[in-house]
């Protein structure tokens, strides 16, 4: 899957009905009609690296630590492109390792959103920790997991 640089015309790819900050943000069912969609801002400085996959979604590395070469990964997948989620997360991890030269790629996974676990595993990510009551979701605090991939070469 081709990732390319962000353009002003890609703005609609940056918002959707996924849990904010999620490693793999997939559109959630039962999203309250009056709830604002999750949104990330257009890239504007070197603390984050955002690419888009046209028609599919965005990939954002935030909190980039260029010294220790690690960053937190966020992905947003458009509702009409959920079938491409696996390709997108694989492309995102490869981009982090290959192009950004990161050693550690990590992100938040929230079990309460029922993410298909195999998607992260197939992209080479592993669960490292569970943080209790880490985020508010659907009327209650829920645990969140840290998933990561580490390059060992």
């Amino acid at each position: 899957m081709m990732l390319r640089g962000y353009r002003a015309g890609d703005l609609e790819l940056l918002s959707g009905t996924w849990l904010s900050g999620e490693l793999l943000g997939l559109p959630l069912p039962n999203w309250p009609v009056l709830a604002e969609p999750a949104t990330v801002g257009p890239p504007s400085d070197e603390t984050s690296e955002l690419c888009v996959a046209p028609g599919t979604g965005f990939v954002r590395y935030c909190d980039v630590d260029w010294v220790h070469r690690r960053a937190r990964l966020e992905i947003g997948v458009r509702r009409e492109a959920v079938d491409s989620a696996e390709l997108l997360i694989s492309a995102a991890v490869a981009y982090g390792f290959r192009t950004l030269s990161l050693r550690r790629v990590y992100g938040w996974v929230t079990p309460a959103t029922h993410p298909p676990p195999y998607l992260c595993e197939r992209a080479g990510l592993q669960r490292e920790a569970t943080i209790p009551s880490a985020v508010w979701f659907d009327g209650r605090p829920v645990p969140r997991e840290i998933w990561a991939a580490v390059r060992r070469d």
Partner: protein
């Protein structure tokens, strides 16, 4: 009675190269500029052009950058950075043409840039740095006969590997 119109001499070499012109990039040129950077080998001040965001492209294409037009059509970018003060006679050239531009255009664009630069001031050293991964840039610099001065190894990362920059230059004899 016929009027005589003064024209600049046509800058069209016999090689079929286009008529070159250039201007500063205005807001209305940015669609063309962004299209240049969507090409994966448009290595203008970056080793990863097609994944750069719009804000970063605007930073790369600074006030010193000129849009090159071939027969009035946007064809690439160039920028000259001066070294060593006003009388240093030393410049570094950043030049990139879009992928569709034939190789002969690179040569004629380079010579036009040199002609313009030497029109008003003395030039002793014009340097060009090309990434080792940039086959097109290397072919251009070598076929143009620029002096290959050496490689500064492992300074840039591209496509998962580290590469050096190859330093090329053309040197003119000092006139005094």
């Amino acid at each position: 009675m016929t009027s005589t119109v003064l024209r600049a001499p046509a800058s069209r070499p016999a090689t079929g190269a286009p008529a070159w012109s250039a201007r500063a990039c205005s807001d209305s040129d940015y669609d063309d500029v962004l299209a240049f950077f969507s090409e994966p080998d448009f290595f203008f001040r970056t080793a990863e052009p097609d994944t750069r965001s719009e804000w970063e492209i605007r930073k790369l294409v600074g006030a010193d950058t000129r849009l090159l037009l071939a027969d009035d059509e946007p064809a690439g970018l160039y920028a000259l950075e001066g070294f060593g003060g006003e009388h240093g006679c030393h410049y570094q050239l950043h030049l990139r043409l879009r992928a569709a531009a034939p190789n002969a255009w690179w040569h004629s664009a380079f010579e036009e840039i040199v002609r313009a630069l030497t029109w008003k001031k003395e030039l002793v050293r014009l340097a060009v740095q090309v990434g080792e991964f940039d086959g097109r840039g290397l072919a251009f610099a070598r076929s143009l006969g620029l002096t290959e001065e050496g490689t500064l190894a492992s300074v840039v990362r591209h496509g998962g590997q580290r590469y050096g920059y190859v330093f090329f230059a053309r040197i003119w004899a000092l006139t005094s």
